[in-house]
């Protein structure tokens, strides 16, 4: 397969959806129109559609002899082709709809719910032990929105129930007034948690994109995914918060846990050079297809780039601290 550099891609009408491999195109035929791709390809396609600058490692990788690439095992070049997470594709996804009304169709979001129980458990394990393994290795270019959504929903329920339970325990039964349940906490908690979980990745993604901190490494969905998972330590904290003396320790521990998780995984993606990634050699011409992958990712290896990335991450952690403080003071504010 002939090599393409950036110039060629600009002329190629399919370059925008950067993960079209030859195998898929051949299967589809030129007139197919619908993008029935392997799921990793769908992800990459959507990522590129969001306006990301994708460096085109796939052109080197998608040699005609490598049919397995079509099954979605390409992984993300930026995190190294570990491919340790087993087969990515579990069932045939329907074609992703295109057009103006596409975001209103269920199929449009199905790639983000293409996970199995095993996947979700594995990813949650990596949140539980953030120092052990890289989260994105488990994501394997298939970020899900299932867990982020239901983690938030469960957190809303836990906030509402445990804060009511805590106030019930605290209530002095000998006092004249009867204990009152607080129902507003359900709506309040829902707007707080879902608002934060939605706004946070938007802000982070906006900053990353605007400042150009190697956005090629990070799609919005991936950010939403990692942020949603990072909220899960607070689920445990909410339950522990029933015990009056353990409120602050629980919230701070959950905050630390989730901050370590975010820092480890975001830093690995946005702030370091991609040392793990070796551009594939082209067997025909024997030269490196990408002379320097790092240079395409912006300046993040330079001290300035690192400083910028560190500042951004500090902002991310700062917002996380705000989240934890609001959680503690607003919903478990009895002893404060």
């Amino acid at each position: 397969m002939a090599l393409t550099n950036d110039g060629d891609d600009a002329a190629n009408p399919f370059a925008a959806a950067s993960d079209f491999d030859d195998v898929n195109l051949a299967a589809q035929g030129p007139g197919a129109g619908g993008f029935a791709l392997g799921d990793a390809s769908v992800q990459r396609d959507l990522a590129a559609g969001d306006g990301f600058v994708d460096f085109d490692a796939h052109d080197g990788a998608a040699s005609t002899s490598d049919i397995s690439l079509a099954s979605g095992s390409t992984g993300n070049p930026a995190i190294g082709l570990s491919g340790s997470m087993g087969p990515a594709q579990t069932y045939e996804l329907p074609p992703v709809p295109t057009g103006l009304l596409a975001p209103f169709k269920v199929e449009y979001y199905m790639p983000y719910f293409n996970v199995t129980t095993e996947d979700v458990v594995e990813r949650l394990k990596r949140v539980a032990m953030p120092w052990k393994n890289d989260f994105f290795e488990a994501v394997d270019a298939r970020p899900d929105l299932y867990a982020p959504f239901w983690v938030c929903a469960a957190l809303v329920f836990l906030i509402a129930s445990t804060s009511n339970f805590a106030s019930w325990i605290d209530h002095d039964s000998s006092s004249a007034t009867e204990w009152q349940h607080d129902f507003k906490v359900l709506g309040l908690g829902a707007s707080f948690v879902f608002g934060f979980a939605l706004a946070m990745p938007f802000v982070a993604w906006g900053c990353f994109t605007y400042l150009g901190v190697s956005t090629a490494n990070m799609t919005f969905i991936e950010l939403a995914c990692v942020y949603g998972y990072s909220i899960s330590p607070f689920l445990v904290a909410c339950v522990v918060c029933i015990v009056p003396a353990l409120e602050w320790p629980a919230v701070i521990l959950a905050l630390g846990w989730s901050a370590v998780f975010l820092l480890r995984n975001l830093w690995a993606r946005i702030a370091t050079s991609n040392d793990g990634y070796v551009p594939p050699m082209d067997t025909e011409s024997g030269e490196q297809p990408l002379q320097d992958a790092g240079s395409l990712l912006g300046d993040q290896t330079s001290p300035q780039g690192r400083k910028l990335a560190a500042t951004l991450l500090a902002g991310v952690i700062g917002l996380h601290v705000v989240f934890a403080m609001v959680l503690k003071l607003k919903f478990f504010g009895r002893s404060a």
Binding site: T90, V115, T116, E118, Y146, W150, A160, N164, H181, K184
Partner: protein, 188 residues
Amino acid sequence: MTETSQHDAELMTLDEPVLETIKRDLKMIGAKLKFVFMPTAKSEDTIAELRKWDLWGPLLFCLILSVVLSVSASEDQGSTVFACVFVVVWVGAFIVTLNVQLLGGKVPNFQSVCVLGYCICPLVLAAVLGMLWNNIFFKLALVAAGYAWAMRAPVVFMAQLVSEEKKALAVFPVGLFYLVIAWMIVII
């Protein structure tokens, strides 16, 4: 010929007394409820019965639950409770349905909402009985039984819609949905 007469019979409902219509609808709800409540009915039978979906039952139970809870709620929170119950039941049922569709389950929206809506009936019953004696442990026991009963059919229904390795992902939201409703009944 038989087709036309059937057609005529359907048209005849236009000038039947309103009472007749309501009676017929209540009978229909009753027939479906029998399956939800019968301990001997397999969840498969319940699901088969609820496949002929209607939203009258869910609306009725949702209204009963909202009224019961808002009546027993404290004065200043009555309307909040009513709104909360209504929103949780309907929005919750639709989100759980959407979830299973996103996981690859092929099911019409309203059919799934119908199953979820009819199956809150044991919890509604627990709420009504809970008004009789305002004891927290009595209520807890009632609601726990209602929760277990309510979960029987929908869990099987959701689980059979998706592939084997996604069952837990489809069932967890159902559990959370009924848990929220159960919690609301307990604390009021």
